[in-house]
Symmetry: C2
Subunit: 235 residues, 2 copies
């Protein structure tokens, strides 16, 4: 498939995403100018922490974890980006932007890569988009605040809260309670600042009592009420 036609196909995909909701096709085209589709295999980095940021973009399919290296060689996961998420947009206007995190594919994933110039020329000129980017940012901030509030809570509360966060973000229908991304225990641990072993202990208990079910890194919530209970029962 040529670059042009694949981009055209991508336009159809992105037009359904909330970030572009209610925009004319011509506007969307302008916002995706110079776009290129990148396919990232499992565990490969789309961009790396500290590198010069010359592109941003939109997740088309799969998922990426946004992670930041810690002083001691490990990494902390800041955010899980799923299809429709705009990534690295808000650092574009900085004079010499560097990526504040690495983006690593969780399973084969597709990304619509847009050059910094498109942000400066199209995104920043569009009042609707600016507003949406700002809302997106403030949602992110709110989530980080929530995390901070949880610091003193027990690990099971944190895991429950993470699962709920991910569920709420994507699944609007309450009937299908499968997390839309393949999550390893290690990733949950890295995301919560906990050890893998501790996460496993919490989740094994839940599996045994039939609260969740794991199959092939897909987590399914069977008793949502129990999860919610765990969050609220925080002492």
């Amino acid at each position: 498939m040529s670059k042009e036609s694949s981009l055209k196909a991508a336009l159809g995909e992105v037009s359904n995403f909330p970030i572009f909701a209610n925009l004319k096709m011509s506007e969307i085209e302008a916002l995706c100018a110079m776009g290129e589709i990148t396919v990232t295999p499992h565990r490969q980095a789309l961009f790396s922490f500290g590198h010069n940021a010359n592109f941003f973009g939109i997740v088309l399919s799969g998922a990426y974890k946004l992670a930041k290296p810690t002083p001691n060689g490990t990494e902390t996961i800041i955010y899980f980006s799923t299809p429709g998420d705009v990534v690295a947009a808000f650092i574009m206007p900085q004079p010499e932007p560097k990526y504040p995190v690495s983006a690593i594919a969780m399973g084969t994933s597709r990304f619509l890569k847009l050059p910094k110039s498109t942000y400066l020329n199209a995104w920043m000129k569009n009042p609707d988009i600016i507003l949406r980017i700002q809302n997106l940012l403030s949602t992110r901030v709110a989530q980080l605040h929530n995390y901070k509030v949880l610091t003193k809570s027990t690990l099971s509360t944190k895991v429950a809260s993470l699962i709920l966060d991910i569920l709420q973000k994507t699944n609007s229908q309450d009937d299908d309670l499968v997390l839309p991304l393949p999550l390893t225990r290690k990733e949950i641990a890295d995301s919560l600042g906990a050890s893998v072993e501790a996460v496993i202990r919490v989740m094994s208990d839940w599996s045994k009592s039939g609260i969740i079910e794991t199959k092939d890194h897909q987590i399914k919530v069977l008793k949502l009420d129990k999860i919610i209970e765990l969050i609220n029962s925080a002492t």
Copy 2:
């Protein structure tokens, strides 16, 4: 002093703040339209978590802690706002904004209160300002990320990191290493998600070894190198 003349005086104050740097006085006037100066005594709330957000503004003097209540009745401090900080601006464009945190004065503080309408009519129409608000937000996000990276570190690392954060934000000259706001041990604890006692133990040790000095809730750093060392030695 009449409302008008006090506002006029405030304009002189705010014109030095980075958010308004290099703007014409006429522009600043437009951005501060309908502004009112509020004086908040020690421990009083400027606004409260969950309430309807009909104003935002700029800290003129003193300081405010932005705190969010936790499920169990206590509170987590999200941010310390010092003079020049713009507060609650980015939630203004939301349809029915609620304050995501409470703002509580630390010592008698002064605040330039601007109605939501000023944000919608003036701030959002000014490209420079939008950009600066967005940068401000992304700085905040970066700080929250840093906090997340620290979760697994020891408490002394966290305290050291907090002190450094506050120092870097305000004091550009390295000669005067006094934190620009009155901080109690409890506030440090609430900000880091730790217990007061633990924070006291860490800081007493530092006082004894001459790394810091506390007088009347003013913290002075005597050996900055030791503080930095503590952060980097995070195993």
